[in-house]
Symmetry: D2
Subunit: 310 residues, 4 copies
C-alpha cells in the first residue's frame, strides 16, 4: 500500500481537477468572498503524526460541522431524554434546509444534522448561563486550540440573512418543539455556525472521535463513549446532507460537511481527516474536500466495509 504522504499528494492532484465544477456558497453573503481555487487537507493519526497539504492553515467558518459539536454539547448538558424528545435520528432524503417534513411527516425535525434539527438541539442548552461561551470551551478542547474565535462578520451576516432558518425556528416554536424563543435558539445556532477553524483544528477533533472520545495525545476522555457512538452514527447516515447515502457508499467514513467548505471525517480507531475547499456542489458539499476524502478512502482503504481486496 502507498504511504500516507503519497496518498495525500495524489488525492490533492485528483481533487483539484474537480474544483471548476463547484461554486462558492452565496446564500450567506459573507461566504461569497471565498476563493473557489483553494484546497487544503490535514490528517492526524492516532499516534499523533500530522500530515498536511495545500491551504490547510486557512481559516474558514465551521458551519454545519458545528452540528456535531452542538449535539455533543446538548447531550452533555441537557441529556439524552431531553434532546431526543425534540429531534429524531432518522435520515430524511430532503435538502438540509427543507421545511416540508416538519409539516407533513412529523412535527419534530428528523435528525440533528439538518438545520431544523440543530436549531432544536441548540434550544436544549439554554439553561446554562452562557451557552455560547460553554460551547466555545468545548469546541476549543475538542480541536485542541485555545485561540479559536467567532467570525463576527459571518455571524452577523447569517443572523441578518437567515430567513429560511428563521422560518423553521418559528414553525417549531409554533409546535412547541423549541425549549426557548425562536430568536434565542437562532442566535446560538448562527454563532455556532460562524466559528472560525482550520483543517488542523477539525482533524484534531476528528481523531478524538476516531479514538472513542479520548484525546490520543493526552489520554484524556473529552466525550463520553455513548455520545461518540451517537454522533458518529449520525455522521454516517446524515452527515453529508442529501448526499449522505452516496458518500457512505463511495467513501464510507463517518463525516460531516459544512457550506464553509470543510469536511471532517473520523476513521475508526485510526485517524482524523479534515479537508477544505470553498467550491461546493449542488447539495452543499465541498467539491474538493469530497474528492480528497474519496481518493484517500480508496488509496488507504478507509471505507468501513473496505474488505480484503479492492
Amino acid at each position: 500500500m502507498i504511504s500516507i504522504e503519497q496518498a495525500i499528494d495524489e488525492a490533492m492532484r485528483y481533487a483539484r481537477t474537480f474544483l471548476p465544477e463547484g461554486k462558492v456558497a452565496t446564500y450567506i453573503p459573507e461566504l461569497a468572498h471565498g476563493d473557489p481555487g483553494q484546497l487544503g487537507v490535514c490528517l492526524i493519526t492516532k499516534d499523533g503524526t500530522v500530515y498536511h497539504d495545500g491551504d490547510w492553515q486557512q481559516e474558514f467558518t465551521i458551519q454545519s460541522i458545528s452540528k456535531t459539536i452542538c449535539l455533543i454539547f446538548a447531550l452533555q448538558t441537557a441529556g439524552y431524554e431531553k434532546v431526543f424528545s425534540k429531534v429524531g435520528v432518522e435520515p430524511t432524503g430532503d435538502a438540509f434546509n427543507s421545511i416540508v417534513k416538519l409539516e407533513t411527516k412529523t412535527l419534530h425535525p428528523l435528525n440533528p444534522m439538518i438545520n431544523a434539527g440543530a436549531i432544536a438541539t441548540a434550544s436544549c442548552c439554554m439553561d446554562l448561563e452562557d451557552p455560547f461561551g460553554a460551547f466555545m470551551d468545548l469546541t476549543r478542547r475538542l480541536c485542541g486550540r485555545e485561540s479559536i474565535q467567532l467570525n463576527e462578520s459571518v455571524y452577523l451576516s447569517e443572523k441578518k440573512s437567515g430567513m429560511r432558518n428563521r422560518s423553521m425556528a418559528y414553525l417549531m416554536q409554533s409546535d412547541n418543539i423549541l425549549e426557548c424563543d425562536a430568536e434565542l435558539a437562532l442566535d446560538l445556532y448562527f454563532r455556532m455556525c460562524s466559528v472560525s477553524v482550520t483543517t488542523e483544528d477539525l482533524a484534531r477533533y476528528a481523531v478524538v472521535l476516531a479514538n472513542d472520545g479520548v484525546d490520543p495525545a493526552t489520554g484524556e476522555r473529552l466525550v463520553e463513549n455513548w455520545i461518540v457512538r451517537i454522533v458518529k452514527t449520525l455522521m454516517v447516515t446524515c452527515g453529508m446532507y442529501d448526499g449522505s447515502g452516496e458518500f457512505a457508499m463511495k467513501v464510507g467514513i463517518p463525516a460531516k460537511s459544512g457550506v464553509g467548505g470543510g469536511i471532517m471525517a473520523s476513521v475508526e480507531d485510526r485517524m482524523g481527516i479534515a479537508a477544505f475547499g470553498p467550491a461546493l456542489d449542488a447539495k452543499g458539499n465541498s467539491v474538493g474536500a469530497y474528492r480528497v476524502l474519496e481518493y484517500l478512502s480508496q488509496a488507504l482503504r478507509l471505507h468501513y466495509f473496505a474488505g480484503k481486496d479492492l
Copy 2:
C-alpha cells in the same frame, strides 16, 4: 465478556418480554397466519461455529430481506450503471411503501431497500431467460441450502393483494423508470419476497457478507467485493425501513429486516446473525428479532462504533 451461548440465552429472554408489543403483519393475507409468540435466532461465526435457539428452524418468507439479494443479483447481471440509473442510494425518512417522493422529490426511487426501489431494481434483470430461476440459484448459493423454495401460497397472496406496490410500479412505468412492463417487474418482485427461509439460511448469507463476499467455509467468493460494500452500506442507512437511523444508533450492525418477521445482520469480519419473530412493530420490523440483536450488540460489543468501554 460473556460467552456467545450465554449472550444468546439472555437475549432471547430479554426479547420475549417485548413480543406482546408487536402484531403479525396482516396486509398480506397469508402472513396473518404467523404465530406472534415465535422467536428464533441463529448466529454463525466466521470460523463456522453455529449457535441457535428457539424457533431457529421455522420457515418464514424472506420478504424485504430479498431486496439485498435482488440488489446483488441486479448488480451482477445488469451492472452498476444500469441499476443506479433507475434507483438512488439515499435514505428517505418515509415508510417503505410511500409513494409521495416519487412525485414530489424525484421520479427515481430513492434507494433499492424500499419497495419502489426494489421493483425498479428487479426490472433490470429481465434480459435473462429465467430471471427468477437465476435469482433462486443465487439465493441458494448465498444461504448454502439447495432446497430453498418459493412459498407458492404467499406469492399468490401477495400478487393478488399487492395493490399499493402495483400503484408504485405503474407510476414508475409512466415515468419510464422500469426496464419492463409493470406487471412483469411486479411478478418477479412478489416471487422474490415469497422465498421461504430459516434463520440458519439467513445467518449463512449474513456471514458471507460479513466475510467480504467470501464463503468462510469454502473460501469461495460468492459476491464481488464492490457489491458487498454497496449492499452493506445500504443496510446501514436504509435496512430497517424508517427505523434505520434508530437501529444504527442503538444496534449498529448492517442489517435488513422483512415483514415476514426476519432480520439478518452482518458483523464485519466476525459473524452473521439472523433472528425471527412474526410480531412486528409499527414500522414493520420484528419486535423480537430487533430486541435479540439489540441485546447481542451490547453484550458482545458488535456496534461498528462500540469503542473501548461501554
Copy 3:
C-alpha cells in the same frame, strides 16, 4: 352591446392569435394527431338559436369533459351518499394527474373533476348491467344526438398508455376507495374519455345545464335540479384543472375542459357554449377555446359577477 354573431367573429380572430402558444397533447399517443391550427365554436341560446364558426363540426374526444357526465351518471344511479363517500368536493391546487394528496392529505380524491376522483366516481356505477352503455345513452340524450360513438382507437390508446391513471386506481383500490377492481373502473373511465363529440354536441349539453337540467327545446327535464347545481358548482371551482381559479376570475362561467381540445361552458339561464382547438397550454386547457370564451365573456358580459359597468 354588440351582437352574438359579431362577438363570435371577433372572439375567433382574437383567439387564433394565441394558437401558436399551445401544443397538441402527446401523452395519449392517438391525440398527437390533432391539428393545432384548428379552432371552432358553437353557441346555443336558451331560445334555441344556434351560432357557430370555424371547425365547429370537427369531431374530437370529450376527455375530461366526460367527468361532468360521469358525475351526473353516478349521482343518478348510485346516489349522493355513495358517491361522496368516495370523493370530496374541494379544489386541490394540484395538477389533474397528481397523486401526492392521495397519500399525504386524505385517502379520498379531493373532487370528481380530477382523474383520481373521476375513476372513483366511475367505480360507483358498476352495479349496472352495462355501465358504459347506460353512460352513452345519457350522453346522447344530453347532447341531443343519437349517433354519438366511442372513438375506438383513442380508447385503446388510452387504455394501453394510461399508466399514471392505472397507478392512481391501484392506490385507491389499496385504500378500499374503489367500488370495484381497478382495471374495471379504469376501463369505464378510459371509454368515457374517448367518446367522440362536436362543439354542437357540447353546446347542447351546456345549454341543458344552463337551463337547470331542462332541455329548452322540449321542456323535458334531463337532469335533476340538485345534481345540476352540484355539477355547475364543481365546474366553477375545479373545471379547468389547476387553472380553475384564474378562469373563474377572468372568464367567470361554469366550464369544463378536456385535453382533446374542448371546453364547454354554461351561462346561467342564458346559453351553452362549446369551443374546440387541439393546441393546449401547460395546464392542459385548449389555448384557443380558452381565449374564445374569455373574449365572449367580456363582449357579452357573461361573467357571473359581470356587474354593471365593465
Copy 4:
C-alpha cells in the same frame, strides 16, 4: 316563498342546534374568551332594509374576513400587476395555515385568502405613509361606520403568539416574495385581523359587494367593478378555508369566514348577509354562522345555481 323575517327566525333556530358541535378558537389566546353560545345575524337588502336577530350587535374581531378588504386595498393602492406577481388565484385544498405548498408546489402563495397569501398581499401596501390608517379608512367606508376600531388586546395577542404566520412570512422573505421585511408585513396583517366589527358592519360591506361595489344607499362607487369581480370570485373558490368547495355546493353564495366567528356573504344584486357565532368547526368556520347561511340559502333560494325548483 316565506318572508325574510320568517326565514331568519327559522335559520336561527336551526343553527342553534348545531352550536354544541363547535369550539371557540384557542390558538389566539384572546379569542378563547368568546362565548360559544352566541349567535347573531344581520341581513341588508339592496333597497336598504335591515333585518337582524340574536347577537347581531356583538363586536368581534374580523380575522380572515379582512383578507377581502386587504385585497381590495392592495389592488387599489399597488395595482393588479404587483399584487398578482406576489400571489396566485388558485384554490389550494390545504388548510389556511399550511406551509407545505410554499416549498413543494410554488414559492408564491396560491391565493390571497390563505394566511400566507394575505401576508404577501399586505406587503404590497407598504409604500403608503400610514398603511394601517389607510386600511382603516377603507374598512370604515365599506362598513358604513366611522367608529370602527382596532381591538388592541387581540392585536397584541396575535402578534405575540402568531409563530406559524411568522414562519410563513420568513419563508416568503427568504424567497423574495415579500415587498418588505417579514415583521412589517406581519404587523400590518395582525392589525388587519384584529379590527372589531359587528354583523351589521359586515352586512353593509357585503351589500356593497353584492351591488357591484356601489353603496346602494348613496349610489357612491366605493370599489372599482373589476376589483369587486376578483374579490367575489375568490370568495367563491377560496372563501371558506378548505371547506370552500362544500360551502359552494351547499350554500352557493360568495362568502368569507373568519376565526373570530364571523361569515359575510354577498348575494349578487340582492343583499348582504353577515352572521356571527364564536363556536368553530374543525376547518375554522363558525358552526352557527355557516348553518344560518345554509338555511337562508335554501329558504330564500340564494344559491347562484338555485335553478327553478328546489
